[in-house]
Symmetry: C2
Subunit: 377 residues, 2 copies
């Protein structure tokens, strides 16, 4: 027997009632029954995104929505400012290069948030930049960017502001309309407590004007097709029906708790995790940690790969290691989505037990105590 | 209380054990446990596709694989022959137009199969055509094309042969390698007995040579990324984990029955359905009917929309109506995927009951008797 605990920043655990809802017999997608679900999903997503604009849903990975934000806003030859402070920021640039756009990079040290002043400088130098692309939570480093401050800068320029909120949505606040975010995008397997397979994107009026001018080729990710279908409560292509049905249920759970309470819960869990790690003498990787995922330096003398592997294979706790250049150097504990106090306790306890077993000097229970103190506040 | 019967050519019913398998707690996609599933899925798909080449899986609707077959094989300005005999054949052309390719159309009367000679003529006239795009089963009309004969023609030219087998796979035979099909593509919600959300594509050596030369822009649907990941038993982007897990299970069911038996079952069910409709005095729409779905002319004096609606809302039987120019003119009964003798009996009985109720002159039980006779053969 082994009990498994999923503590990665995507996929995240799915509430059992959502899993069971998705296990019901299939229904057809062009029926009044399914239209009812589409309607609720669209209304719910707008509340989570904090936008008055329609949120369109693709059947794809989150990367599909990233590609959509590029091919629908820009044309080949267009310039765009891209904040690159981790694996996902870099992906925006890779997509643009594939489609013949010019990337104005702002390279940020991994683990640091972007300085809004550097965006201002880039826009001043490149008045013709069509958009600024950045991330809410850079999952690969557990770093949150101050999107409100970025929005304050970008609103003074013609450029649209695009925010990858794939892992951040529902954990780190994103006030899409109020902060001047023109395109917000996300995925299903994070704060929305679903399996992967759906991606979401919203467009402001300013963004739709760019869509009208965009000459990049597209078909499956053409947002005009989705917008047109949405107006008839339909999707342009057969959608991932079971995931939409699950989404209707998970949105209901989220909205019953209320977005304010959801964000406060993530803040509390993240705070408890961070304090626990520090109480154990471990160092956080990010100087601006996200409330979705906590990245922690692997302490000197410890094999980071073995740490994550032992947690998973011996204790059933799946955390994430580091990606790309951070491989073996950090481990990441997600407190994202369907997560509560005792999930944090399990994660912290597992880190204590595994590090102790690997010979790291640690006082057992010290991290858990710090977490409990934070949770009780 | 109402029992529901899903008889549409996608989505199709999903076996309960597959639904429950997908309802298990989420696992992470970069684990040995998931790699084991990916391995089995890849091996299983090759057997269903009857190809020695890798079958790559996208998290997308079937249209994603259609787009992939265009943007990976062709470059802007390239010519391709496109067989248009229904909604899905037309879609290939629409995708090509979006990406700046030139469409050499072969327009086939809806409900008729393509004449291989017309493909020969098109290729003789357009020696520079890079590929021929056609469908195995044109879902919108229930028409099967003779892909073996098309392959016999295309193999004498440089052009690659692309076959949309989204609804046909697992119902109408497709001997990918033996028939010279260079690119075969499909979706999850048809013969593979899964919810929608996954799309599949295979490439022959001849097709990979075109991939190397293709200059069309792409990122999410770039098959080279999927091929490279597949070699490491991975996916380039977070995949629809639960659907992959379901696919492992549904492929096991299909392969335990055996592809020969699966195809024979579809042939028997389709034959029984067709004989039943004809026994009722109804006319089949297609002159080359597919074993996946039977399209039937709505008889004179009957409201086709009301027929389908009554079947669904009063009797719980969801059939499909006609799409686009066929709206109201045909109804379609699928016998595709997780279907057995008594599914056909239910469908036929429902048509009898609904038509009787609508005042159509019909001898109750006559269609069912014809179906039973066919099933007993």
């Amino acid at each position: 027997m082994k009990k498994n605990y999923l503590m990665t920043p995507g996929p995240t655990p799915v509430p059992p009632e959502v899993l069971l809802e998705m296990a019901r017999p299939l229904i057809h997608h062009r029926t009044p029954q399914y239209q009812e679900i589409l309607k609720k999903v669209n209304e719910g997503l707008k509340k989570v995104f904090k936008t008055k604009y329609d949120v369109m849903t693709f059947t794809s990975s989150g990367t599909g929505a990233m590609e959509a934000s590029v091919v629908n806003l820009l044309s080949p030859g267009d310039k765009a400012v891209v904040v690159r402070g981790g694996k996902f920021g870099e992906r925006f640039g890779e997509i643009m290069t594939s489609y013949g756009m010019e990337v104005i990079p702002i390279d940020v040290t991994w683990g640091k948030p972007v300085d809004p002043k550097s965006i201002k400088a880039a826009l001043d130098k490149n008045k013709d930049a069509k958009a600024v692309y950045t991330t809410l939570c850079e999952t690969s480093t557990g770093t949150m960017n101050d999107i409100r401050a970025v929005g304050e800068v970008v609103k003074n320029y013609d450029a649209a502001l695009v925010v990858d909120a794939v892992s951040g949505l529902g954990a780190d606040d994103l006030d899409t309309d109020a902060w001047g975010v023109d395109v917000a995008l996300s995925g299903s397997q994070k704060g929305l407590m679903l399996p992967p397979g759906l991606a979401f994107i919203s467009f402001s009026d300013k963004a739709w004007k760019l869509v009208e001018k965009s000459k990049a080729p597209k078909f499956y990710f053409d947002v005009k097709k989705y917008k047109k279908s949405l107006e008839k409560t339909d999707t342009p292509f057969t959608s991932a029906i079971t995931l939409f049905i699950g989404l209707e249920r998970s949105l209901a759970i989220i909205l019953a708790e209320g977005m304010g309470a959801v964000l406060a819960r993530h803040r509390k869990l993240a705070d408890a995790t961070r304090r626990a790690m520090q109480a154990l003498g471990l160092e956080l990787y990010s100087s601006s940690p996200s409330d979705a995922v906590t990245a922690v330096h692997v302490p000197a003398g410890i094999d980071g790969g073995a740490l994550v592997k032992t947690a998973r294979d011996t204790y059933g706790v799946t955390m994430a290691g580091g990606q790309a250049e951070l491989k073996g150097k950090i481990f990441r504990i997600a407190h994202l989505g369907f997560m509560e106090n005792f999930d944090v306790i399990v994660a912290v306890s597992c880190v204590e037990i595994v590090l102790k077993g690997m010979g790291f000097k640690i006082e057992l229970g010290k991290g858990v105590r710090a977490a409990e103190e934070a949770l009780l506040k």
